[in-house]
C-alpha cells in the first residue's frame, strides 16, 4: 500500500542524509521525496511516499521520530489529505500539441517555433494519466517533483 509521510526537520547540513540513510539502512523504499525550507528558516519540510503495510510504516515513522534532527512526523495516509505534484514536459512545438496540453488542463510556460515547455499540477494518478495521454506526441523530456501533501483536518504539521 502506498503511504505518504510528511515531516519537519532541522534545516541543517546532514539532516536530509540521516532521513534518506534511514530508509536504505533499514531496507525501506522511497518512491518519491520532496523537501524545502519552511517559512521558519530553521526548519525544512519533507514529504515522501513509500510502500509498505501498516506495521512497516509504523516502524518507519517511529524510526524517523527517533532521529534527533527530525522534529515532527505525520503519516498523512491516516488522514484525509490533499496531495499534489508538479509535472513539467518538454515537447516539439506543434499546434496540435499545444491544443492537447490546453485540453488536458496544462499551462504553457515557454514556447518558440521549435519547443513547448508545459506544466501540469495534480494528484499523482491524474499526472500518470496525462503522461500516458501525451505519450503519442513523443515528449522530449518529462520531469515530476514527487508528491507534496497537507492534511485536510485540523491536525497540523507545525511546531
Amino acid at each position: 500500500m502506498k503511504r505518504v509521510i510528511a515531516l519537519l526537520m532541522e534545516n541543517q547540513p546532514g539532516a536530509l542524509s540521516r532521513v534518506v540513510g534511514l530508509f536504505s539502512q533499514r531496507g525501506y523504499n522511497i518512491e518519491s521525496l520532496i523537501v524545502a525550507p519552511t517559512e521558519d528558516p530553521s526548519l525544512s519540510r519533507l514529504t515522501m511516499t513509500t510502500e509498505g503495510d501498516t506495521q512497516v510504516v509504523e516502524q518507519i515513522t517511529k524510526q524517523l521520530n527517533k532521529l534527533i534532527d527530525v522534529v515532527k512526523v505525520l503519516d498523512l495516509s491516516f488522514e484525509e489529505y490533499v496531495g499534489r505534484e508538479l509535472l513539467l514536459i518538454k515537447m516539439e512545438f506543434s499546434e496540435e500539441a499545444e491544443a492537447e496540453v490546453s485540453n488536458l488542463g496544462g499551462q504553457v510556460l515557454f514556447k518558440d517555433d521549435n519547443l513547448l515547455n508545459v506544466e501540469f499540477v495534480g494528484a499523482s494518478e491524474e499526472l500518470d494519466e496525462i503522461v500516458t495521454s501525451l505519450a503519442k506526441l513523443n515528449p522530449l523530456e518529462v520531469v515530476r517533483t514527487g508528491l507534496s501533501g497537507i492534511s485536510s483536518t485540523t491536525k497540523t504539521l507545525t511546531i
Binding site: G14, S17, G21, Q25, Q55, N65, K66, I68, D69, V70
Partner: protein, 582 residues
C-alpha cells in the same frame, strides 16, 4: 564569573572538565594535534594512550558500561576515525554512551580528498545516535553539552563530534562559557509510563497463572535493578535475563531462571514458550531471543516497557506497550500492584513454579557435563568458568569477547549485581574483551577484573597488553584455548557435516606465555584438569600483575542448550545427541 578567552581546543578540554570527565581514551594524529596540545596543558582530564583506536572505543565503552557514565575517545582524522568504527557500532548495538571526538582535516580541505581525510560523519551515520560537525570554535561548548545529553539520556548511544583542525586553532580565541541547560526541541525522552497502560499491565500480572518477567540491557543502563528486584520479589514471579541483562536480577536467587535465548537455559526457554504472560522490560525481542517470531510464545499476552518507542511491536506485536524508562515504569507498576494487594494470590502460580522446577531438574545446566567430566582427561570450559566464579567469589567484573567462551561465561558465572558483566551482545565484536577490561579496571582500580576470552578473540586486540603495562592494569585474562574458532567450529560441526572451513589454526598459534611475558606481564599455561584450581588461585593472588591464564580446553566441547533455527523457543539441542523436538 569573568569570561575566559579560549581556543577551540582549549574550549573542548574545558567543556569536558565542566561535564565532569576525568578520563579520555585515545590516539593522537595530525588533525588532532591542537587538541592534544590543549590536553597537555591541563591536569583535570587524564588520557589513556591505547595501541589501536578500536581499543580506545572499547575501553571507553567498558568504562561506560561499568560506571553508567559516558566514555570519551579522541581519535584523529582518516584512519584514526575509521579504526573507531567497529567500536562505535558495538556501542550502538548495545546502546552505550560513548562519545568519539575525531579530528578532521582543515575546513577548506574537506571534500578535496586531502591527506587522512574521511567523511567521518557520513561513515559513522548509521551506527551513531547522533553526530556533530563543529564548524566554528564558538560552537564547541554547546555541541559537547548536547553530545553528553544525547549520549546518556533516553535510550543511550554513541555520539560523534567531528572537529576540523582549523576549528581548534590555538591562535583563534573566543569568550568561553559552558551552557548550564539545554533544550533540544526534537529530543525529549519520556520517562513516565502512561498511567492507563500501567493499570492494564498490573491487571494482567495479577490475573496471570503462568507469568515470566524477561528483562534486558535497558534495566542495567537505566539503573533499574533495584526496582526490578523489588517487583519480582513482591510478585514472587520467575524472571529471566537476556545476555545484555545479566546481573539486573541476582543470578543466585531462587526466582532466577538463568539466561534465555539462543544459549539460554532449558527452563528459561521452556518458560517463555509455555507462559501465559510476558512482562518484557528494557529488552527488544531480538532474533537471538525469539527464534522464529511467528512461533514465539503464542499463548502469552505481552507487556513491553521500553524507553524507545521504536522497540515496541517492532518484531513481536505486544498487547500492552508502555513507553518510558525502566526505573520509573517499574516503580509505577509496583505502586499500582500494591494498590491492588488484595488481588495478589501467590498460590495461583504454584503449579507453574513446580513445572519450572521440573524442567530445571530434567535438563538444567551441568547434568550431562558433570557425568562426562569424570571420564575426561581434558579441561572443560564450563569448569574453568566455575573455577573462576569460585575464586572470585562471584564478585568480579567480567568482560568477554565473542564466541563459545562468552556463552560459557554468561551461563556459569552467576552475576548478582548489575554492570558486572561486560560483553558485546548486539554486534558480537571479537576483540572487545581486553580493551573493555581496561576501561573497567581504570574506573575501578581496586576491583577484580577478569577478561574471559578465547585464543581467537584475544588476538584481535592483543596489542592492548602494552597499554595495560603503561597504566599498570592488573587484569586477569582467562583464555579458553581450544585452538579453533569455537563457535564457528560448533556450527560447522552441527550444520556443515564437520567441515571445518578456516576455523582452525593448525600449529600457528603463538606461545601465549612468552607473548605475555614479552609485554611485561605474567603468563601461565594450564593443560591438565587437576592443575586448573591452583593456577586460578595463583592468577588471582598476583594482585598487582596482569596475568594471562592460557587454558587448553577440550576442543570438542559445544555450547548447549542451543535453539534450533527457524523453530520455536522450545526447540533446543541439549547436547550433541539430544534434541527436544521430534
Amino acid at each position: 564569573m569573568s569570561k575566559e578567552k579560549l581556543s577551540g581546543a582549549e574550549a573542548l578540554m574545558r567543556s569536558l572538565q565542566d561535564e565532569g570527565i576525568e578520563l579520555v581514551f585515545g590516539y593522537p594524529g595530525g588533525a588532532s594535534l591542537h587538541i592534544y596540545d590543549a590536553l597537555f596543558n591541563q591536569q583535570a582530564v587524564q588520557h589513556v594512550l591505547v595501541r589501536h583506536e578500536q581499543g580506545a572505543v572499547h575501553a571507553a565503552d567498558g568504562y561506560a558500561r561499568s560506571t553508567g557514565k559516558a566514555g570519551v575517545v579522541f581519535v584523529t582524522s582518516g584512519p584514526g576515525a575509521t579504526n573507531a568504527i567497529t567500536g562505535l557500532a558495538t556501542a550502538h548495538m548495545d546502546s552505550t554512551p560513548v562519545i568519539v571526538i575525531s579530528g578532521q582535516v582543515k575546513s577548506h580541505l574537506i571534500g578535496t580528498d586531502s591527506f587522512q581525510e574521511t567523511d567521518m560523519i557520513g561513515v559513522s551515520r548509521p551506527i551513531v545516535k547522533h553526530s556533530f560537525l563543529a564548524q566554528r570554535a564558538e560552537d564547541i561548548p554547546m555541541i559537547v553539552k548536547k553530545a553528553f545529553h544525547i549520549a546518556t539520556t533516553g535510550r543511550p548511544g554513541p555520539v560523534v563530534i567531528d572537529i576540523p583542525k582549523d576549528v581548534t586553532d590555538p591562535d583563534y580565541k573566543f569568550d568561553y562559557s559552558y551552557p548550564k541547560d539545554i533544550d533540544i526541541r526534537s529530543y525529549k525522552p519520556v520517562e513516565e509510563g502512561h498511567s492507563g497502560q500501567i493499570r492494564k499491565a498490573a491487571k494482567l500480572l495479577l490475573k496471570s497463572e503462568r507469568p515470566v518477567i524477561y528483562s534486558g540491557g535497558g534495566v542495567i543502563q537505566n539503573d533499574a535493578s533495584e526496582e526490578l528486584t523489588s517487583l519480582v520479589k513482591y510478585l514472587d514471579f520467575p524472571v529471566t535475563n537476556t545476555l545484555m541483562g545479566l546481573g539486573a536480577y541476582p543470578g543466585t536467587d531462587k526466582n532466577f531462571l538463568g539466561m534465555l535465548g539462543m544459549h539460554g537455559t532449558y527452563e528459561a526457554n521452556m518458560a517463555m514458550h509455555n507462559c501465559d504472560l510476558i512482562l518484557a522490560v528494557g529488552a527488544r525481542f531480538d532474533d537471538r531471543i525469539t527464534n522464529d517470531p511467528a512461533q514465539f510464545a503464542l499463548g502469552a499476552k505481552k507487556i513491553h516497557i521500553d524507553i524507545d518507542p521504536a522497540s515496541l511491536s517492532k518484531i513481536i506485536k505486544v498487547d500492552v506497550p508502555i513507553v518510558g524508562s525502566a526505573k520509573t515504569c517499574l516503580d509505577q507498576l509496583l505502586n499500582e500492584l500494591k494498590k491492588n494487594e488484595s488481588k495478589l494470590d501467590k498460590n495461583k502460580i504454584e503449579p507453574w513454579r513446580k513445572q519450572i522446577k521440573e524442567w530445571r531438574k530434567e535438563h538444567g545446566l551441568n547434568h550431562r557435563m558433570l557425568k562426562d567430566a569424570s571420564n575426561s582427561k581434558k579441561i572443560l570450559p564450563q569448569h574453568v568458568i566455575q573455577s573462576l566464579y569460585k575464586e572470585t567469589k562471584g564478585d568480579a567484573y567480567v568482560t568477554s569477547d565473542v564466541g563459545q567462551h562468552q556463552m560459557f561465561a554468561a551461563q556459569y558465572y552467576h552475576f548478582d549485581k548489575p554492570r558486572r558483566w561486560i560483553n558485546s551482545g548486539g554486534l558480537g565484536t571479537m576483540g572487545f574483551g581486553l580493551p573493555a577490561a581496561m576501561g573497567v579496571q581504570l574506573a575501578f582500580p581496586n576491583s577484580t577484573v577478569a577478561c574471559v576470552t578465547g585464543e581467537g578473540s584475544i588476538q584481535m586486540c592483543i596489542q592492548e597488553l602494552s597499554t595495560c603495562l603503561q597504566y599498570d592494569l592488573p587484569i586477569k585474562i582467562i583464555n579458553l584455548n581450544n585452538s579453533s574458532l569455537g563457535m564457528v567450529k560448533q556450527w560447522q560441526d552441527m550444520q556443515y557435516g564437520g567441515r571445518l572451513s578456516q576455523s582452525t589454526y593448525e600449529d600457528s598459534l603463538p606461545d601465549f606465555v612468552k607473548l605475555t611475558e614479552s609485554f611485561g606481564h605474567v603468563g601461565i599455561k594450564v593443560e591438565k584438569p587437576e592443575d586448573l584450581e591452583s593456577a586460578m588461585k595463583k592468577c588471582f593472588e598476583l594482585k598487582d600483575k596482569l596475568v594471562f591464564l592460557d587454558i587448553v580446553i577440550d576442543e570438542d566441547e559445544h555450547v548447549y542448550p542451543m535453539l534450533e533455527a527457524g523453530m520455536a523457543m522450545d526447540s533446543m539441542w541439549l547436547d550433541k545427541k539430544t534434541k527436544t523436538w521430534k
